[in-house]
Symmetry: C3
Subunit: 280 residues, 3 copies
């Protein structure tokens, strides 16, 4: 992908990802549309779990990384709004720009797109003369910055260089007969997305025991897709994220198992032919 020149004429798309709900996000759209043409703002999600930085970072990476090079991605999951955490913009290798608080939420997306540089946003350079409050930087600081970037401004004109804070993400571990990791996301269906790569599931095995934090081990079937499961049967399969997921057919594994993002996950592949030792 060839990066677009910094001062391109054609406005870029601006995507919005927040835990703010639609009403606050609408105030950001108002700011953006004061200078951008119709259709340039794309709502990704405004219903992310409140204040959950690591899960939002995971979801954002998967939502945003497929957008065209040059897109401006704004992410407002910002429990530290108004504190000393920096407001930042990241200049990515493909010409995309990322805008949000420097709390790690932009980290995985930035890493996947490649970082060319980053700045700490300077309110004074954004024409944010009078800050009406310190509790909604999404509207008062990040939306004006995104509008400028979408209009073609170079990130360097909006603040001074900074190195974004990294987000420490848990790493999965491969074991002789299984894998350990964490739940990194629970989707709308209640499917439990782990951080264990799908290729770690061995060919030729048909069952595993699944152990989540604070819960007894359960037997699950290793399957290709949801429809391979019987009703109420627990399964492990390759999710669309390239990571293993734990699912029930047409029911919420999250609710049934009382699982939460951040729970530890232990998967143990059972020998071929085994019927499992955990409870169903």
């Amino acid at each position: 992908v060839t990066p677009r020149p910094a001062e391109t004429r054609r406005p870029r798309l601006v995507t919005l990802t927040t835990d703010l709900g639609w009403a606050y996000a609408a105030q950001m759209k108002a700011v953006l549309y004061r200078s951008l043409p119709p259709g340039t703002v794309v709502d990704l999600a405004h219903d992310l779990p409140p204040h959950a930085i690591a899960e939002a970072a995971f979801v954002l990476k998967h939502m945003a990384s497929g957008f065209p090079a040059g897109t401006v991605h704004v992410a407002i999951i910002d429990p530290g709004v108004g504190s000393s955490r920096a407001p930042i913009a990241i200049d990515c290798r493909d010409g995309s720009r990322l805008v949000g608080p420097d709390n790690g939420v932009l980290g995985p997306l930035a890493a996947s797109l490649g970082i060319r540089g980053a700045v700490r946003l300077d309110p004074g350079r954004l024409g944010a003369r009078r800050r009406p409050s310190v509790t909604f930087d999404g509207r008062d600081l990040f939306a004006p910055a995104a509008a400028r970037l979408a209009g073609g401004a170079a990130p360097g004109t909006l603040g001074s260089a900074l190195t974004p804070k990294p987000l420490a993400l848990p790493r999965p571990a491969r074991k002789a007969d299984g894998a350990s990791g964490q739940l990194v996301h629970i989707d709308r269906f209640g499917n439990l997305i782990t951080n264990v790569p799908t290729p770690w599931m061995p060919a030729g095995r048909r069952r595993a025991t699944v152990t989540l934090s604070r819960m007894a081990a359960r037997t699950a079937r290793l399957v290709r897709t949801y429809a391979d499961l019987a009703p109420e049967e627990l399964g492990v399969l390759g999710s669309s994220f390239g990571l293993l997921e734990i699912a029930l057919r047409e029911a919420s594994a999250g609710e049934r198992l009382g699982a939460n993002v951040g729970d530890r996950v232990l998967l143990r592949w059972l020998p071929p032919g085994a019927r499992g030792s955990g409870k169903r």
Copy 2:
């Protein structure tokens, strides 16, 4: 309406209707915006009840049929993703195209727009070289197909002809003193939408008994609009779908009556002057 030529220059609108939630839908938008201009993707709903094909088919028909001729409508309610159910595109008489799984969800909309032909989508012809997973055809197969169709590709270039599977919908029955049918949709207010046509409600009657699956009969007033009801009073009125609905004024009939989509409905018109025999 004159159908637009298959290879039109101006990109068409693409609407998205899913039970996936916003985060997965965002991944579909990323794919679409890789080739389509700003503003062409319209979110209809991403919060449909999970896996509820018949209700989604009903809602989709009413949401999408008013869009301009030539629009591409994508519907992802797909509990059988990755199984042998076919991925399809339907070519409609007005030039609209429908994209989704061949599980009936597109059926009522297709019937109302008129079917000119349909194809089974061929991943090989969609440039979907490497399928990253088999659990998210919305992103990996249907969004690329919709992008091609919106760009002007003829459906026949994306796969081979097929006859879509019909969706068996329940039919209401007219009776001497009433009607029987089913609940086909419960809206955000908890209003219960039946499949009984509004014109079946007789003029000159003022009350009916309403019996839902597993519930005792209740008396309801036949009214024109919600504001005709007293607080807490149950009513039957003509919904905006052209079908009778059962409602409480500014309260959820769905919650109060414990009703579910698919419940049987029996309506019995009471003689003029009757006060009703069911409990209030």
Copy 3:
């Protein structure tokens, strides 16, 4: 801001604010896109609390007032649909137009933009020949009116002059050692937005007692932003609305306190050094 001429060529943005949920709102978008170009319809919120006119009026004012002059704002919170309440369009001083029921929901936004005139919408002049129902004016009346206004029609061509009904909003009262008011909005985080202006919070005070309808007094800390609070600590701070809010750090004050929009609020500033008399 210079108002745009009434018969401008370039279509205006149309924003949608409803309590209808996404599925009904989609039917309004279908109507709008039959005549407007891609990207002109902007979803603000479709998940407002059902039938809550005063709260919607408050939220609408804050969402919509930042949009460019000339935008058409449609608000459908309409428990009286089909009754004698008038359907209206308001012509604002900056060229913006507001469309919705005459129940007060448009009042605060109209007041903040300045009213130049208003009309009662005439279905006959909107080409709404056959009203399919009386329960969804958003689709059958307001969306066609918005499409005409966005296309450049002067409001006076769509109906006859009327004076919109005012919305009686509660007023806060300043007291020697505090303030009284009401909860006007609860946001997605459960923060309680009052109608007490932020500048009424005295400098040099550090604590207050907070009393809500039907609840015992509690002590809260007066802070600048959420991050100044300890976990579980109750705080009072300046919200992004320019009004005081009552919040817990990363938790829902609404759920913990069982608060509702409309609850009375009494704030009493404690003397410097006081530790508070209410329970924590």
